[in-house]
Amino acid sequence: MKILYSWLKDFVDIDVPPEEVAYKLTMAGLEIEEIEEIEDDYILDVSIPANRGDCQSILGVAREISALFNAPLKLPDEPRLKEVEEGIDIEVVSPELCPRYTLRFIKGVKVGPSPDWLKKRIESVGIRSINNVVDITNYVMWMLGQPLHAFDADKISEKVIVRRAYPGEKITTLDGESRNLTEEILVIADKRHPIGIAGVMGGEDSEVSLFTKNVALESACFDHISTRGTSKVLELRTEASVRFEKGIDINMTKLASDIATEMIVKLCGGEVGKISEFYPVEYKPCSIRFRPERFSKRIGINPSYSEMRDVFFRLGFKVEEHINEWRVTPISARRDISLEEDLYEEVVRIIGYDKIPSILHERITGVVSTSPAWEKRKILRRKITSLGCSEVITSSFVPVQFDKYFREFYADDIGSISVINPLREEESVLRWLLSQSLLSLAINNVRWGYNDFNLFEIGKIFFKDGESFMEKEHLGIVQSGRIIYSWDKEVNASFFSTKGLLEKLFKHELTFVPAYYSVLHPGRTANILYRGKVTGFIGELHPDVARILKLPRIYIAEMDVDEFPLEFFSVGQVKEPSRLPKLKRDIAIVVPETLPSVEVTSILEEVFKDTLEDYELFDLYKGPNIPEGTVNLAFSLNLRAKDRTLTQEEVEEKIELLKNKLADIGGRLREW
């Protein structure tokens, strides 16, 4: 809200540069965003917090300055109006939405342009000059915070009724828009139809024009919730609606009307008619308990009683002091103050936040345990980056085209989640797998000219399971192009480079089972099982999909991290290192090439049992030296017994056993 500095000075007697005023206001909660210098004057742009309805006027800001600088506030005088016996009847049908309503009749005005001084003042704060009557209503609103509306009194049929709109009613507002009304909307109506939307905007029919002779000046207090609702529904925010929403001073309603009336007859001529008023219950601010000792306990400073008393006086509040407990009554404009803590803020605001010391709270309160998901994420991040994979953090929204991608991961009754009020298509569908985000990122990378990447993300995914909205933490990996390279050597991303990462991260406790995903390569896709449950998948992007998306070969993997407890990633029972010699044995096994290698390795594990410390597949051969349709798997075994030195005989015995077992699956040991 723009405030003209000289206008401000009409209400508060200060003689300081505007920068100082701006600084103090800012520190006390009314941020001055800009000071603009105009000929001999300044315009302060004040940002008013949502709770400070009282500051939406020159008077309100002046009141703050008065308290902050301890300078006297000059309240406007109550005009003495000579009334003629003519007026317009009012009827408030919905008092719950309109606690106070006044309507002043003004007879025989001459509508025309405003005098220069008035024009200049309102234009300086950003209000368009329309005509003298309308300008005066705006001027007084800006000055006192009370929205006013002038109707052409001759357009009002019989009387003014404040009521809810009837279903199906319509009104054309001042901006020329025709608007459909509902029962939630409070309107100002005459005997025939609505002539204005309460607190928001008047109707075009009853607008004050150059031909207007008689004016009906409305000054009222409308319910803030209702006004806000109306303004939202109609998508119509006006200077008036903004003020009603944040709350106005109900005890200013009549005074503002009188001041505007006095100005109208002075500047536009005419006679003052009667004012009709509805104000069944006068608002009196309640007193609030204030305990100086509790204040000190909450804020951490000990101002003297007189300092605190002084703050309240400067704000215009009344103070009754009892031992240990005061009763403080705010002014009617300060509807934001209803609790003891609100009074604390007033005291520190005026005394200054800089007066509060800076102290560390040293008591140890660590009874809340840190989120296990957080710890797990940290461990995973550290491990996977050490394996050369880099972190990305992508948006939770995914391109609509990827909405049902990787559908096969979920049961049929699981659905993705969309927001019902997206701003743009790009922010409408929530990802149900990180793979969607990573695929989208891969497309960008390639478009930017980066074909080599090795990336992971740990983040939330969202899905709908019946009526419940689920949110889980996943790990996603995407790899493409070269992973390690130089001019003489390179390691390319492959199914196995991606799989290797997962094996390292999840300690070889995963099982990979061939699976079908429509967007993945039919021969290069697997579900990942942990303890028999599908917790993820891995695969190469289907060549057809890759072609459409203009992507090279892309490898994607995803794991549901929530399925693994934190303990899974922590160090287990530490084993003592063995001093016994290790026996290294290389073996070659020929099996049908259609046999999954896991069949062979499970035999190895079964045969050698706990003497098999670890093993490695170091070669895989298909070719002329072995029968067609078979494959040669070369393993390097590390054998060691826990309690004794393993003998060659023992090993040979096991090798014999191995031979038998291999025969069962159509394989054989190949002699070197």
Partner: protein, 342 residues
């Protein structure tokens, strides 16, 4: 000198000549066999010694052995020489261009938002806080109502939300975690809750519909606004350096009372005024305040017995300040050229 001696002498000089003219280890081995082999020249001579007159034998034998030793010595020294030469040759062959580039093994890098939160976490852990997390999909109750923001509250205007249903929305702030922690935990506690939040904003350099916040909260019997100041001062000094000044000013949030805004002196211009700080010399870091009594009550905590402070800051914004980044959209865009710098 006997003819035998003469012969031996010739043999010696011939052998030495032969050895000295040799250029390869293979040839040297041949020579070695020729002279020193089991059937070599010298062994042959020793055998023939038996045909020599008895009295000459010891002397001749001595000479032969002497020659043998001499030849062995020569061969050995020649071998060393040749081996050295061969080694040198091999090394020379193995010479590489040391100016060629090395192998490209990229380290796995962390995202800048992660780097920042790890620092923030460390600082707050040092101050006795623990990390907790909440849900990104929240109910209107936790996101607004419980935080003293009823449906008609004007504060909702600045937090235009993405709704999933009438009741569920994507949280617009991390503050719902305050309620969830209070519901589950008996005070005292000190927590930070970093996380992702959503607002229905058009993306610009300063606003993103998807961004991140860090919530903080401490509740105990004796917590004062002075403790809030102490905590945030310590945090700002740890993160931005002990030479930054800090400032609190009054502000408004529905869920704190009194409320404040915390700023640090501009780290770019040292408070003199620049574009980053809009020429004010100050950079706003976060909103904070004493937990509103109604919010404590909603969380099941008696505001007469307990008090607390809370704060919330922009996580992306902290990263922007720390690394002097002027577009918030870079974080979720993940351009390789951007990420490779961290």
């Amino acid at each position: 000198m006997s003819s035998m001696e003469l012969e031996l002498n010739n043999l010696r000089s011939e052998a030495l000549k032969e050895i000295s003219s040799i250029n390869s280890l293979d040839n040297l081995r041949e020579i070695e066999i020729k002279y020193l082999g089991r059937k070599g020249v010298l062994n042959q001579l020793l055998k023939e010694l038996s045909t020599a007159p008895l009295e000459e034998r010891p002397e001749l034998g001595g000479i032969i052995n002497q020659i043998k030793l001499e030849i062995i010595r020569e061969i050995e020294s020649k071998r060393t020489l040749l081996e050295e030469r061969e080694k040198a040759k091999k090394l020379e062959e193995e010479r590489i261009d040391v100016t060629l580039p090395g192998m490209n093994i990229s380290p796995g890098r962390l995202h800048p938002l992660t780097l920042i939160i790890e620092r923030v976490e460390e600082i707050f852990r040092g101050l006795g806080f623990t990390v907790v997390e909440g849900f990104e999909m929240e109910t209107d109750y936790y996101n607004f109502e419980a935080l003293n923001i009823p449906w008609y509250h004007p504060a909702r205007d600045t937090q235009d939300s993405f709704y999933i249903t009438d009741k569920f929305l994507l949280r617009t702030q991390t503050s719902p975690v305050q309620i969830r922690v209070m519901e589950k935990t008996k005070p005292p506690f000190k927590i930070i809750a970093p996380g992702r939040v959503y607002r229905r904003d058009q993306p610009t350099a300063r606003h993103s519909p998807v961004f991140h916040q860090i919530e903080g909260m401490a509740v105990d019997k004796d917590i004062t606004f002075a403790h809030l100041k102490g905590t945030l001062d310590a945090f700002a000094h740890a993160l931005f350096g002990s030479d930054v000044s800090t400032r609190f000013r009054a502000d408004y949030f529905p869920f704190t009372e009194p409320s404040g805004e915390f700023a640090i002196s501009c780290i770019f211009c040292k408070g003199k005024g620049c574009r980053v700080c809009s020429y004010s010399g100050w950079i706003e870091i976060l909103g904070c305040g004493m937990v509103h009594p109604k919010v404590l009550e909603v969380g099941g905590i008696d505001p007469e017995e307990y008090s607390g402070f809370a704060f919330g800051m922009g996580w992306d914004r902290l990263a922007m300040l720390t690394y002097n980044i002027n577009d918030i959209r870079f974080f979720l865009e993940n351009h390789p050229e951007f990420l490779v710098q961290f």
